[in-house]
Symmetry: D2
Subunit: 138 residues, 4 copies
Amino acid sequence: MTRLGVEELQAILSAAFPGNDVPRVETVDDDAVLMSIAISDRHGRPGGTLSGPTMMTLADTAAWLAIMSQIGPVLLAVTTSLHIDFLRKPQLTDLMARTRLLKLGRKLAVVEVELFSRGSTEVVAMAQVTYSLPTSAS
Amino acid sequence: MTRLGVEELQAILSAAFPGNDVPRVETVDDDAVLMSIAISDRHGRPGGTLSGPTMMTLADTAAWLAIMSQIGPVLLAVTTSLHIDFLRKPQLTDLMARTRLLKLGRKLAVVEVELFSRGSTEVVAMAQVTYSLPTSAS
Amino acid sequence: MTRLGVEELQAILSAAFPGNDVPRVETVDDDAVLMSIAISDRHGRPGGTLSGPTMMTLADTAAWLAIMSQIGPVLLAVTTSLHIDFLRKPQLTDLMARTRLLKLGRKLAVVEVELFSRGSTEVVAMAQVTYSLPTSAS
Amino acid sequence: MTRLGVEELQAILSAAFPGNDVPRVETVDDDAVLMSIAISDRHGRPGGTLSGPTMMTLADTAAWLAIMSQIGPVLLAVTTSLHIDFLRKPQLTDLMARTRLLKLGRKLAVVEVELFSRGSTEVVAMAQVTYSLPTSAS
């Protein structure tokens, strides 16, 4: 059972990232959060591809939302580590992130995040993100 | 012997990141590149700390410059993986990055990047970044 | 289409790991290699659990086999990096590894390896392994 | 100030790894633990080099000892993640590990481990290892 849904997570995101580049929460269910970010010129890199930092930022954010969807708004959860493999060049279209919650413990949560271009099934990057949960969290 | 110095690397950065948040190249020598980024409100996160993506972006960029300082302008080098451990909250002052080139092979380069707050010796995050080098690179 | 099947991979393994602890290749298909290792007392650790190195070794080996199942016997492929998150204590029964080939490029292959205890669906550890392929490989 | 020295750490190791391949604790001081493992034929791999699992095992063990040298015998500390970059082929001589304690918190410890061949200054592999500390630890 999810604790927070699309609207609640979107509201948290919009407050946390004031500005134009707020990612969009697409779907939330027991197993996964699906997010997207619209790609504009400012995400580009030499060679006409999407920047690595844009992908890392989306992976980090998606992992945070996946945790909150299960345990509620833990605004003070902090990333303790992130590992990402960049596999192939994304297309210059919306970048999507789908999460898989690998572990939700008392102290740590580990989330796998698969990044792909909208409309494609090829994984462009795969991340494993660990968050430390504040002690008050269940 | 370095192939590119502070001015040349700064010029590449300024072209690659047009906008206000261009990191600054502080020193370049045989062993390390030292960079900094000025912290403004837009890098903040709930809890009054610096965002993880700001740190990851600086680590990725510093690794790229460390490679170019040794082998010249490889604009098409791409990050293949990045691992980062976030160790403690940075202060809300300039964030610094110091690189250590662990491997510079024909196909891959591996760079360790230590992040710390200006004026402090405590490491706030430690990253290991792998770049794939274009075949034409030495 | 796989290039090497269960028997061929098992023969390579038995030659590479002479001794008593050769992992077993269970199934090989287009998408995945499934392997197992029998757990004996010598894999134990204080607290009655399975050692981390046993899990890392199986992950590394499974990734290597997944690559060879697709491109043939690349005995000189070398691991360039391995990242593993240990998620929960495995049971003291056979440890299983299932691979997912994330990328098979000319120079690099990236394989995700999921570790679990036989008979369970809970992931006990998740690894991402990168291999550098010898130039002669396709 | 270290809490455990060479003899105490060596005794813990010998109890934890009964058998012939117990690594040797060489020096322990405030900043680092230095360990070694004698290389025998059974650590070999095709191509005449040292196996990745041998290096990962030493890195994991060295990180554990570095933590215990500072906070005493936490036998139940568990590795939560390990990242390693393999940089170059080690020589077939003793493999050495030198630790650097990046963080020692209440819940987590992060240790960097540099691996090199005895008598050489070239890093052959670099690991970042995270341990979860039992709650009773300081």
